[in-house]
């Protein structure tokens, strides 16, 4: 805590997942006053999402890898004097003066309480994680089709399943983890459908060799899937969902290396739910609104450019975890701790001792895990042929119900060449989710996949979450600093 309520914190950490927790604890243990904010009412972010205490789970670790790492950080956090602002949805971060930042949030489980909160700090650590990347297909709006990450999240926190017989599909390593959790929790998973192969990993044998924990994790999932007789179909995709008000079956077809469905290969699989996702997208709205430089990651997502000590291109703003490129929870923890050490060194006015033991270990681990993440990302990048499984009446934008046919019309008849123009012509990406769900797809369709790659989608959102007008209006009221809850 700062010495007096009117003083800014040394560091505000946004996001209490593995990266944010590790950063907050590391910085606090080196003497900084730290505020930790998260939209959720619980620590852990998406990876360590777990049931609320009232559900009385005595073995929450049964749904997690490396629960001990989270438990350890949580204990250190409880011993620290980090100000915890849980249930705080950060909608904007602004620079108030040279070395002072203001973090604006609204409160409540879904941000609906309309009580605006402002937290001031001398430095920022953005650990805002990621959300799931989706590619549309006919029938993906039928109830029973859920995000793969969504199924995982609802299971981890609510102890519920979307059905009894769940096909898992899309692309990326998350699919194996999700299938493994669903089967452990009692669901039958008739198939895991992966559009890429796993050969991509084999092209970087040296990267695999220095990341034995990742191989061990994959082996755990693989043996769980074998035990539950889950069939893994690579180079395949769900090209259609059957059912009107509820999923009844899916059609799975072979796809070529460019993800183009191979005609005549479709097979129907009966199921009552489909969990689908095509990788993750870094959540960088707050960073881009501050002007932080971005890069195109190997999986075609947009992530932040970071220096060797996790600082963004904007001095005073650090980032860790998925914001710097999708890499998983272990990497996020390493980067968070490194960022926490770097901020502490900077604010204490000490040069960062890059040869200092802990920092050297962390940097070496980070570089090794980043190399693995890049290999993995490259192996699961969507191929340009995916849009061939769309029909003209497939909804692409779920919020505004904009079909593929209308977006194609905007491109062929009205000359749209990018997601922004397609949005202005059709409203795709203009709804509640602000294009988070359809962004990749609209960008691909607008660019017509000409060069065979996924084009960048619109990642600039001046307000990171919806804000009631009342909260904006009260910003002009006399300044009362906000106190943490914990």
């Amino acid at each position: 805590m700062p010495d007096s309520a009117s003083e800014p914190y040394d560091l505000a950490v946004i996001g209490a997942g593995h990266a944010g927790l590790a950063g907050a604890v590391a910085a606090s243990e080196r003497g900084l006053s730290v505020a930790l904010l998260d939209a959720s009412g619980q620590l852990g972010g998406q990876f360590y999402r777990h049931p609320a205490p009232a559900l009385g789970a005595v073995r929450p670790q049964a749904l997690h890898h490396d629960w001990a790492a989270f438990d350890g950080l949580r204990r250190r956090l409880e011993k620290s004097d980090v100000g915890q602002f849980l249930g705080h949805h950060v909608w904007s971060v602004v620079r108030e003066s040279g070395e002072q930042w203001a973090v604006h949030a609204v409160t409540g489980a879904d941000g609906g309480d309309e009580r605006p909160v402002r937290v001031r700090a001398r430095a920022l650590l953005l650990a805002t994680g990621a959300y799931e990347r989706h590619l549309p297909f006919p029938g993906w709006t039928v109830p029973g089709v859920v995000g793969a990450g969504g199924a995982q999240a609802m299971l981890k926190s609510g102890l519920v399943l979307p059905g009894r017989r769940i096909v898992v599909a899309g692309s990326g390593p998350l699919l194996l983890a999700v299938a493994s959790s669903l089967t452990a929790a009692g669901a039958r998973v008739p198939a895991v459908v992966e559009a890429s192969g796993y050969l991509g990993y084999a092209r970087r044998p040296h990267v695999l060799a220095v990341n034995p924990r990742k191989l061990a994790e994959a082996a755990v999932h693989a043996s769980a899937l074998l035990r539950h007789r889950v069939r893994l179909r690579t180079r395949s995709a769900v090209t259609e969902v059957h059912g009107t008000d509820r999923v009844e079956a899916v059609t799975v077809a072979r796809v070529d290396p460019r993800w183009r469905p191979v005609p005549g290969t479709g097979r129907r699989i009966a199921c009552d739910a489909l969990a689908v996702g095509h990788g993750l997208v870094p959540q960088i709205d707050l960073a881009t609104s501050l002007g932080c430089a971005t890069r195109r990651a190997p999986d075609a997502t947009t992530s932040l450019v970071l220096d060797d000590l996790q600082q963004t291109s904007v001095p005073g703003v650090w980032a860790a975890g998925e914001t710097g490129g999708i890499g998983g929870a272990q990497l996020a923890g390493v980067e968070g701790e490194l960022a926490g050490l770097a901020v502490a060194a900077r604010l204490h006015g000490k040069p960062f001792l890059t040869e200092h033991g802990r920092a050297r270990t962390l940097r070496r681990r980070r570089d090794r895990m980043r190399a693995f993440a890049d290999a993995m990302a490259a192996a699961h990048t969507p191929g340009p042929g995916w849009s061939e499984w769309l029909t003209d009446d497939t909804d692409v934008c779920r919020c505004e119900e904009v079909t593929a046919g209308r977006i194609r019309e905007a491109v062929t008849d009205f000359g749209a060449r990018d997601a922004r123009t397609a949005k202005l012509l059709t409203r795709a990406g203009m709804g509640w989710c602000q294009g988070r769900v359809c962004g990749t797809a609209v960008a691909c369709l607008a660019a017509r996949g000409d060069d065979g790659t996924v084009p960048p989608s619109v990642e600039r959102r001046p307000l990171a979450v919806p804000v009631p007008l009342g909260a904006l209006a009260s910003l002009d009221e006399p300044d009362e600093p906000d106190e943490p809850d914990g």
Partner: protein
């Protein structure tokens, strides 16, 4: 081998309570979100879309997609995947933007 998620994590929840969905009674566990309580009762849709009136429910599960919007105790546009269920909550299927009563 666990047959339910609750068995897997050894859940010993507090006393279950009731909420209603369009008048139908559903049992919720303390600590569950509204969306989780509905999934637990086999209900996957509690909203109809603005243009075509198609059913929707939770999709992303983490508050990002807004597909799970519901009218909760008369207030529209609440994210059911984030809101904890509370005893006596009345959920009604949200039609369109949920402000039909305003005539907008």
């Amino acid at each position: 081998m666990a047959r339910t998620p609750g068995e897997l994590v050894g859940a010993r929840p507090g006393t279950p309570f009731e909420i209603t969905v369009d008048g139908r009674t559903v049992t919720a566990m303390p600590g569950q979100s509204i969306a989780a309580a509905l999934w637990g009762a086999g209900i996957l849709a509690w909203r109809t879309t603005r243009n075509t009136g198609r059913p929707r429910g939770a999709f992303c599960g983490i508050g990002q997609c807004y597909d799970c919007l519901a009218t909760v105790n008369g207030e529209p546009n609440r994210r059911a995947c984030l809101l904890p269920a509370r005893p006596g909550d009345a959920i009604t299927t949200q039609e369109g933007h949920g402000h039909a009563g305003l005539g907008v």
